[in-house]
């Protein structure tokens, strides 16, 4: 009955090894590691249906980056693109390709204090799927350099 398209075996094995837990200073009575906790998920109170108010507050104060692997279907790039466009921010730089290692890394569109970036050929876990482009992208963002 294993659900499809998840691979957490290695993490489970590693983080439940007594020697690893000891190295990480995990108390003995802390329960077995699981990748996702069903009780937390089922009981979780989802108090926000949209992050719009938060972005309206944040974009006037600090820089932000929303990036999407463009072949993910859990949180797809189109939804985030619609979300960012709906904020009505001033466009600083029109949509263009960005490059990494001589290849197209994806597309970028920059608004005032918010960058919208896609990572071509990456799924939900962008740094895992496209490590080199993802490192370049986050470095550009952190150090405020061009993508």
């Amino acid at each position: 009955l294993d659900p499809p398209c998840t691979n957490g075996t290695d993490l489970l094995m590693y983080l439940n090894t007594p020697e690893v837990r000891m190295a990480l200073h995990i108390p003995l009575d802390v329960k077995k590691f699981e990748l996702c906790n069903d009780e937390v998920n089922f009981k979780y109170q989802r108090e926000y249906s949209t992050m719009r108010p938060q972005y309206e507050f944040l974009t006037s104060r600090v820089r932000g980056l929303i990036y999407n692997g463009d072949i993910d279907m859990a949180c797809n790039f189109l939804g985030d693109e619609w979300f960012v466009e709906s904020l009505g921010l001033q466009v600083k730089e029109g949509r263009r390709m960005w490059h990494q290692g001589g290849q197209v890394g994806g597309f970028v569109k920059r608004f005032t204090n918010l960058d919208l970036v896609t990572v071509r050929g990456a799924g939900h876990m962008v740094p895992e799927d496209k490590p080199a482009p993802s490192l370049q992208m986050i470095t550009s963002f952190l150090f405020n350099k061009p993508y």
Binding site: Y14, L15, T50, L58, V62, F83, L142
Partner: protein
Amino acid sequence: APAADEIKNLPGLSHDISFKHYSGYLNGVEGKHLHYWFTESSRDPVNDPVVLWMNGGPGCSSMEGLLAELGPYLINPDGKTLRKNKYAWNTMANVLFLEAPACVGLSYDDNDNCSTGDDETSLGNYLALQDFFKNKFPEYRNNSFFITGESYGGIYVPTLAVRVLKGQDQFPINLQGYAIGNGLSSYELNDDSIIFFAYYHGLFGDDLWTRLVEHCCTGGRPTRQTCNFSNSKWPMCSQVVQKASDIIYNEGLNMYNLYDNCPHTTAGKFSRHEADLSNILRQHDFHSTLMLRAKNKKPVQ
């Protein structure tokens, strides 16, 4: 830095590392202990920024971020050994991985109370952050600070960032920005857009698309403004959206990476797949059926 939290000998690590790393607990809300794993920058820890990373769910562990995505060492399939990640984010930043809320991963609650929500989670994360900068690593208090995350981190990150900015007078933190990867920003827009995404990637054909447009879009025009796939009360719309969502999420495609293989391995009694499905099409009556089908899914050929 807390000497007691320093990782001295990490099992499975067979290559030299040029940075210090720490694992321990940050205290947030009383009785709740959030596990952290902090990998200092291998370049210039004193001057490089501090980056907080959080995976989503809700309920999923940030250890996936560390050991499978952007950390300096990644787990090999044997579950015992680690390999070097030359594209690790700690090659240019000090990266803090936080498991939140309590009960996720190696984090715990003294009374085993795992019930929480968005506001309490962001408060707990904020208090944990204060513990990090005040008690555990005060030397990083003035470094540039960024909050980042993925998936349901789309909720965790902005809500925490707002708290940090609003609390600047009481507890100054040098927050410079935030970054979110494939984040949940709006349930409605995420649900509405996936139907367009699926059609334009050829996951279903014109027969189903025509019915979707007919029953869920006003004026027979399929646009972002005219279609309501996420919470239509029309039974016929709900029926065709269910058909579409079964194709997208329950027929063996890899919802995390459309063009990747779909591995079948044990991931515990509750999987990422289920956690992430819990965010999708929640307004429809068939949501629980969608979850149940995912839970009982047998491996496809």
